[in-house]
Amino acid sequence: MTTLTVNSKTYHVDADPEMPLLWVLRDIIGLTGTKFGCGVAQCGACTVHLNGEAVRSCVTRLKRAEGQQVVTIEGLSANNDHPLQLAWQANDVPQCGYCQSGQLMSAAVLLRENPNPTDQDIDDAMSGNICRCGTYVRIRKAIHDAAAMQKGVAVNG
């Protein structure tokens, strides 16, 4: 039995400690917002926060999360109103939407660590997340908008 906290809720999981966190979240706990894209830490669709850091849950073993704090897209905000979520909606960022949980979780760490990211900072932080629909231009703008929102600046979608 492995104990971990996901979105402030404690879970006791009976699973192989070698099982990637992604499948614990999706198939055992039942939180499906975190997506499976590649299984080898190449696409970022499975990005979650482990003790506040963005990790690829498809290659993060359950044993590494034991006793730790995990936040998934379902826990990013209570009402879908994190500045990034609002900026994503205002800019119509998602297309198919499958990669966007991972994009948002990567962007959330960037914005927490760097409240005023440059385009280069965004490149550095977001190039691990693939979007096959090619929403990069809007992701970039939405991150800038969210940064402005955090600082209390009104943003036009």
Binding site: A15, D16, M19, P20, W23, R26, D27, I28, G30, L31, T32, G33, T34, K35, F36, G37, C38, G39, V40, Q42, C43, T72, I73, E74, L76, N80, L84, Q85, W88, Q89, D92, V93, P94, Q95, C96, G97, Y98, C99, Q100, S101, L104, I122, D123, D124, M126, S127, G128, N129, I130, C131, R132, C133, G134, T135, Y136, V137, R138, I139, R140, G157
Partner: protein, 721 residues
């Protein structure tokens, strides 16, 4: 098969979506079933004037999509069309995909399909009429209440209004449901449009920012097992033997079953199933597929394309044309197989109960998939329900006439007697076939003293995506139009007095399929790079040269001129920056793109892409801009990295580390402009793809003097940034 027979005629229609240019026949909304059993499964009560919407007494409006949302934005655009005529309160609208069913067949292609960049133009009348019919009945219901004639009743924002008196649509729903269907359904004039041409924000964005959007991958059913499949390493291979003992010993693994396409491992979670899959010790009969090698395949294609193939388009006397030419230019182009690689790996959930079956699949072909499932199960089609969750990308891959991944999941459920969610790994998805075919083009062009083309011999070798499928009925005189579209109908060729377009259709074990913009992925590249080369040969500016040849193609010109103007074509660029341009028509839309690049120290950087599209009316302009952005990145991936290769029948690529996708750091600034156009409506999802690669390669020529005749660019030793 009772309800949705896949007739030859329907497949002809489906095949026609590849070639374009067919008659458009709109059907009126399916009115009926307003009393008694709902015609929309899962929706009971309220007012259902047709198969496309339902209004409940609490004012909730559910709009049913005949097409499937895979990113292209129709979750918002189709409701806009209904709301335009219904005067609906936008905030009361919720959207659902239609299940498989005849009422939602394509207005032009006759089967239920999302493809060919056709959703908006094909539904433009039907969805507006669906809304208008509802408003007529709601207005009548209000008039009856108020004992006035309907012309006295106004509607706005979900309300029927008479002076100061108002009734909500919900309050009128039950009465409206009892009224006879309207005889005539007039539509509003464009000058009265509130939504069309103006646009709304995406209705699916909130669910796609908090993890609540449900994709096929997210299906969860009581007692459901996760299934993975070990597939043959070679296309067409069959299982000779396997040993399930070690797989079954993995904690969580419940069952191992053989199916026609391999061996399935069922477990209570994906990871356990996948661990079990590694332990099956399968011996394969690889068959003839093991002989396939990309190098020898392409060598054979080059040889083929050196001779005239079956005629797809011809005009004038080639021999005389070449004899009179001042100069002859020859070129050979090579294109590899490509995988669609949608972000959501292919998957399908199947639950069989007695003599019925329910399926959840993110598919572009719900009706065909349901009928194929019914055939496998020996059931009637009406006993099979197919539900469509969100699609995590499609690009054509989720539309196979053989229903490959749906059929496989059904086979697993049938063999195991379990409710299963089958999940393909990224590697399964990559190696699973249904690729954009590999092609070779060989061109011989004669130009006159002014450098204008006077003779054009153009032969193409590659597989047909229609051959071997029910769509083969659409192949005429040996020509699968999807192999030659973009060349045979090129506006440039029309201006060439003597020309011949020939096709050699090859056969391989590799399954092939339509891929975002289909034949235009390669034909657009060839035409737009060779035209650039001809311009250089003529000593002319590439834009001016195109304008001269396109003088009778006003929509090409409109897009070309707008993109050139907005990009500042011919004006001074920052030091070390170069422009390349391309224009191409696909799916009835005309798109021009200008790429601005630099190549400092061999490092290729795409700084900016300026795009202009003439698609006629843009119903949701920002949605069109989003599709242009999307297609430009898709085209960039194809140009930089897109390549599958095969050795001894084995696909050499595995995952995103060796089949790379353009990332954030490679995304250029994108500037999209929509031509103000009153012309026939075209598509948006695909026409944005073809111009990117040629515009980019023409810019590389401007920078280096080097012409590119084969993609991807990573094989040309450019360092990408």
């Amino acid at each position: 098969m009772v309800e949705q027979e896949i007739s030859r005629r329907n497949f002809l229609k489906a095949g026609a979506l590849l070639s374009g240019g067919l008659l458009i026949s709109f059907t009126i909304p399916q009115v009926g079933g307003r009393l008694g059993k709902s015609i929309i499964p899962g929706i009971e009560g309220g007012f259902t004037p047709n198969a496309f919407l339902n209004i409940q007494p609490d004012n909730k409006i559910t709009i049913i999509l005949s097409h499937t949302e895979m990113g292209q934005g129709i979750w918002t655009t189709l409701p806009m069309l209904i709301a335009e005529e219904l005067d609906a309160d936008w905030k009361n609208i919720t959207v659902e995909h239609a299940p498989a069913g005849k009422p939602w067949n394509h207005t032009t292609y006759g089967i239920q399909i999302t493809g060919g960049s056709s959703t908006t133009w094909s539904e433009f009348d039907r969805y507006r009429k669906a809304g208008a019919a509802a408003r007529i009945l709601l207005t009548q219901a209000a008039a009856n209440r108020w004992r006035v004639t309907p012309d006295k009743v106004k509607t706005a924002n979900g309300l029927a209004i008479l002076g100061d008196t108002k009734l909500s649509y919900g309050e009128l729903a039950t009465e409206a449901a009892l009224l006879p269907e309207p005889k005539e359904i007039p539509l509003r004039a464009a000058t009265d449009w509130k939504y069309v041409g103006k646009g709304k924000r995406r209705l699916d964005a909130p669910a796609k920012t908090n993890g609540s959007a449900r994709f096929g991958m997210d299906m969860q059913l009581p007692g459901m097992l996760i299934a993975v499949v070990a597939h043959s390493p070679v296309f067409g291979g069959k299982v000779l033997s396997f040993n399930a003992t070690r797989a079954k010993a993995v904690k969580g693994v419940k069952q191992v079953v053989q199916i026609p396409t391999g061996v399935a491992v069922l477990a209570d979670n994906y990871w356990s199933a996948n661990e079990g899959k590694k332990l099956l010790n399968i011996i394969w009969n690889e068959g003839e597929g093991a002989n396939l090698n990309t190098a020898s395949q392409m060598a054979a294609y080059k040889k083929l394309a050196s001779t005239n193939g079956l005629p797809a388009q011809k005009q004038g006397d080639l021999t005389a044309g070449f004899a009179g030419a001042a100069k002859i230019i020859e070129a050979e182009y090579v294109f590899p197989y490509l995988a669609h690689a949608p972000m959501e790996p292919l998957n399908c959930t199947v639950k069989i109960t007695g003599d019925s079956c329910e399926i959840w699949s993110g598919t572009q072909l719900p009706g065909v998939d349901r009928d194929n499932a019914a055939r496998i199960l020996g059931m009637k089609s009406e006993n099979v329900t197919l539900n469509v969750p969100f699609l995590g990308g499609g690009f054509g891959r989720r539309a196979t006439m053989a229903s490959d991944f749906v059929s496989e999941a059904v086979q697993i459920a049938k063999a195991s007697h379990q409710t299963v969610k089958m999940i393909w790994s990224r590697e399964d998805d990559m190696k699973g076939g249904y690729y954009r075919p590999a092609y070779v083009h060989k061109l011989r062009i004669g130009t006159d003293a002014d450098g204008m083309p006077v003779a054009w011999q153009h032969n193409i070798a590659g597989q047909s995506i229609m051959a071997g499928t029910p769509m083969a009925a659409g192949i005429k005189d040996g020509i699968d139009d999807s192999s030659v579209e973009g060349v045979k109908d090129s506006p440039y060729l029309k201006a060439v007095p003597a020309h011949y377009v020939g096709l050699h259709t090859t056969k391989e074990v590799v399954p092939v399929l339509w891929y975002r913009s289909v034949g235009n992925t390669h034909t657009g590249f060839v035409m737009e790079t060779i035209i650039d080369e001809l311009a250089t040969n003529a000593g002319k500016d590439p834009l001016e040269y195109r304008r001269k040849l396109l003088k009778d193609s006003p929509r090409h010109l409109a897009a070309l001129n707008l993109a050139a103007e907005k990009a500042g074509w011919g004006k001074k660029l920052p030091a070390g920056h170069y422009h390349g341009i391309a224009v191409h028509e696909a799916f009835k839309s005309y798109v021009a793109e200008v790429a601005e690049i630099s190549l400092e120290g061999g490092k290729l950087k795409v700084h900016k892409v300026t795009c202009a599209i003439d698609l006629g009316l843009a119903v949701n302009p920002d949605g069109v801009r989003a599709q242009m952005e999307s297609g430009i990145i898709f085209g960039l991936t194809m140009a930089l990295y897109g390549e599958l290769s095969i050795e001894n029948g084995r696909l050499q690529q595995n995952n995103f580390y060796d089949y790379k996708i353009a990332r954030m750091n490679e995304a250029p600034q994108i500037d999209v402009h929509i031509v103000d156009s009153k012309e026939e409506m075209g598509g948006a999802g695909e026409p944005c793809v073809p111009p990117l690669a040629p515009a980019l390669c023409n810019a590389i020529f401007a920078a280096t003097g080097k012409r590119i005749y084969d993609l991807p660019l990573m094989n040309h030793n450019f360092i990408t940034a």
